[in-house]
Amino acid sequence: MIDHILERIGKQVPTQKKKIEGFFDEIPQARAGLAEFLNLYLPFMRKEEISIDTVVDSYLELVRQMLHSRLEFMRTGRYPAHSQKAALDEIYRNKSTMQQYMLGLALSYFLWRHQFLLLTFYRDGIRSLAGRQRFLEVGCGHGLLLVELMGRASGKSKIDVVDISSQSIEMTANLLKTSFADDRRCEFFHCDIFDFQAAEQYDFISMGEVLEHVERPKELLAKLAGLLAPDGRMFVTTCANCPAVDHVYQFEDIQQIQGVIAEAGLEVVADIVAPSEKKDLHYLMKNKVDISYAAMLKRRTGK
């Protein structure tokens, strides 16, 4: 099936296939990870009557949109998305658009070097969750990080999941029904995270690919810092110079991201910087290459 995926990608975008094959040569675990991902998603796809070609085409549409966004970004210096509200109206509330977007994004975790590195960082980070029982996931999206978390969290855990998109919640809930049938650890909340009222503080908060989608990332991090238990940990990913149809906040470099984290009252415990291209710093800056960033955070001491 992996060969079929690569062949279908290569037929439409040969440069993508070449890039993915180079990535698989460099990190063979990614190809194995893709096989595991397919095993996880196939029962869900069968139930939802989604073919593997639909998933690949969703990915190709994501690539097409990202290339368009990048061209616009390089011409104007600005992200093409106008506002958080526009993204909500045009994408997050549109079932077919959102499903296509999420399927493509989920697949990208195993086809793009920087996405796979972030996922690996996350997997390493949640290995030591023993004793932690109160979890919060913000922006479940395609459900991939939540599935990973559920695989690590104890049977007594309570996992609150907040997403502004009902489509994301539906997709993730359906994915869990096939992967974790009769598992009642998760409770979903369909709302803006700024409106979310938590009943308690959390031992672990996970928020992948959300910061760049909001207009006030510092305020969002500060809100989550308040929801984090004193000895809790928070996993966050975002990116700099990463134009996309629904990316609103434009981080220009990693230092700016780290600055916002500090201003929100958080401290980096561990982090990873993952450019989308394996190039030297000069090339990355000259071409404003998309750089992904993930960090494990804690509340700043003294706050």
């Binding site: 440069t15 993508q16 061209l71």
Partner: protein, 91 residues
């Protein structure tokens, strides 16, 4: 502009973007033949071509091209109306 001259200028652009002065292009060359010609490089090449020839690509024209010959034809096609408007149409 003659086809050879146009090809030379495109070659110079690709060499600069990919930072490789040994690259040689002909009409049959594909992105697959050039090691670093990936999706991002393609965008950067298109942007440099727009600047060099004072033309603009539509988003739909970003789709992968069959080979360098197709890219040269698109560039030539976009340059012709501009040159005509300036009364500088090449013979």
């Amino acid at each position: 502009m003659t086809p050879d001259k146009l090809q030379d200028r495109l070659t110079a652009i690709v060499r600069d973007i990919l930072d490789d002065q040994t690259i040689l292009l002909n009409r049959e060359t594909t992105a697959d033949d050039i090691e670093d010609w990936d999706s991002l490089a393609h965008i950067n090449i298109i942007l440099a071509v727009e600047k060099e020839f004072n033309i603009r690509f539509d988003l739909e024209e970003l789709k992968p091209m069959e080979n360098v010959g197709e890219l040269l034809d698109v560039i030539q096609g976009k340059m012709a109306p501009a040159a005509e408007a300036l009364g500088e149409l090449a013979p």
